[in-house]
């Protein structure tokens, strides 16, 4: 097959140095463009910053909630109180049945006499309780759940135990820690949802700002196309705008989160102090900041690509 020439002047190629020079020049011009319109740029940075700060802030909260719960000894479980006339055999059968459950790690039975003895110690009433004649305290059993057991399983087991002979009452103990874990899961999912929604918001805000920048420079773009700029060269300044808007948004988001943490620190320190815990805020570290800035820049670039695709595909030379 004969060679078919598809370019009137095929030898005209650009060097890598030229490509780098173009990037450096366009980067500088874009920085100037964004900083010369500081009012508009600040508005875009604020909107993108708020959009990033909400999900990122929720992520910080979730990380800290997880850390608080990870260092805590308490675990959810259930307490079984037996009838006063329950036989030892009934108590032993129930304890054996509960102990065989895979979700239970430990079963501890407290007889009526042991309960009375403990009460004497803790109440400080001592021998005066002997005057009662008979022991008013029931035998009881405490079962601890293996970590990670879901609440629904705990409720099912409680219902099963409640039907047994000699059992007076079953109390399911959900510790505040478990509630904290549930809340943490809610926060995580909320953060994800907000991340997606506000991410889309940040993209749209950047896209709309970049679109305005494109409209303001249409004549220049036509001239660039006329003198032989490639599509990449025509797109380039706007991708830089998007990246700068997103990066600036990331900086604002970091500042907002830092400010929020600063405001929340005193009451959180007081709250955790009442549980003999110290406040060690984690998550807000250099890696997090790097992610925040990278995410902002990426969203900005995506936004500008949306605008560029919409507007520049129809650009005519004249």
């Amino acid at each position: 097959m004969p060679f078919r020439q598809t370019d009137p002047w095929p030898s005209d190629t650009r060097s890598a140095g030229g490509w780098l020079r173009d990037h450096r020049r366009v980067g500088g011009e874009s920085f100037y463009f964004v900083s010369a319109r500081l009012g508009t740029s600040l508005l875009v940075w604020l909107v993108v910053g708020i959009a990033l700060a909400l999900p990122a802030g929720l992520w910080i909260i979730q990380v800290n909630m997880a850390e608080v719960s990870a260092g805590w000894e308490g675990r959810p479980g259930l307490s079984v109180y037996f009838d006063l006339d329950a036989t030892q055999a009934e108590i032993d059968d129930t304890a054996a049945m509960v102990g065989q459950q895979g979700s239970i790690t430990q079963v501890e039975v407290t007889t009526q006499d042991e309960a009375l003895a403990e009460f004497k110690v803790y109440s400080g009433l001592g021998d005066s309780l002997s005057l009662l004649g008979e022991n008013p305290l029931p035998a009881s059993m405490r079962a601890l759940l293996t970590p990670g057991v879901v609440t629904a399983e705990l409720d099912r087991l409680a219902a099963q135990i409640g039907k047994r002979e000699g059992v007076a009452e079953v109390v399911v103990e959900k510790t505040w820690l478990e509630r904290l874990n549930d809340l943490s899961a809610v926060v995580r999912r909320l953060g994800l949802m907000l991340g997606v929604l506000f991410g889309i918001g940040a993209i749209l805000v950047t896209a709309s700002s970049v679109r305005l920048a494109i409209e303001a420079r249409l004549e220049e773009l036509r001239v660039l196309k006329l003198v032989g700029a490639t599509s990449g060269q025509i797109r380039r300044p706007f991708l830089y705008f998007g990246a700068l808007y997103g990066f600036g948004g990331g900086v604002i988001a970091a500042m907002l989160i830092a400010l929020t943490l600063l405001i929340l620190e005193p009451p959180l320190t007081s709250l955790l102090g009442s549980y003999q815990r110290e406040l060690n805020l984690s998550g807000f570290d250099p890696l997090f900041l790097l992610w925040l800035l990278a995410a902002g820049s990426l969203l900005g670039v995506i936004g500008s690509m949306v605008a560029v695709r919409q507007r520049l595909s129809r650009l005519e030379v004249l």
Partner: protein, 237 residues
Amino acid sequence: MGHVEFKRVTRRFDNGHEALKEVSTEFPEGSMTFLTGHSGAGKSTFLKLLLAADSPTRGSILVNGVDLKGISKRGLARYRRNLGVVFQDHHLLAQRTVYDNVAIPLRVIGMREKDVERRVRAALTGVELIGKEGLYPRHLSTGEQQRVGIARAVVNRPKILLADEPTGNLDPELSRHIMYRFARFNQMGTTVIVASHDVGLIEEMGSRTLCLEQGRIVAEIPARQEGNQAEEHPVAV
């Protein structure tokens, strides 16, 4: 080199109007040609097709034997880097200085800033605008703005120079000056195609002339042999 050939080119618009009808002609490398005719004769469409800003409905336009229809996007950008285009209304960027306007084609090809400066200064010297590189287009007269447009068109040493009514807004003396400047570029090997309805000036230049009427070439006047237009009216380039 810049050899252009139109082969039975027709451009029909959506409303049915045919701006060009079965036009066939050639522009040899290093030639200078005027396109003339009344408004609506098809001169601007002719140049738009050459610029690849539009494409023919039928027929083909070959540049150095390559059909413009078959050029890729990247090839099209390379093609345009070898064209110089001058418009009646200049198309200068109001927010850029004279220097930056002229430098655009050089920066697009990634030229070093030191070389850009040298070439821009040479081009501005050629159109007698040196010293005004820091001004904005609004500070210049119409004639000066047109000369900035010419400097931008030639700064990259194009192989083909297209001009669409380049003297439309200018007084006769300045018009002559600009036409002779084009003739000088042509003498340096650039293929020059100028659309103009200034019949007197075209006759004075004595270059090959194609007369368009209702989208057809109705007459072709060959170039006058005697004299050298550029030397008759010397200008600095």
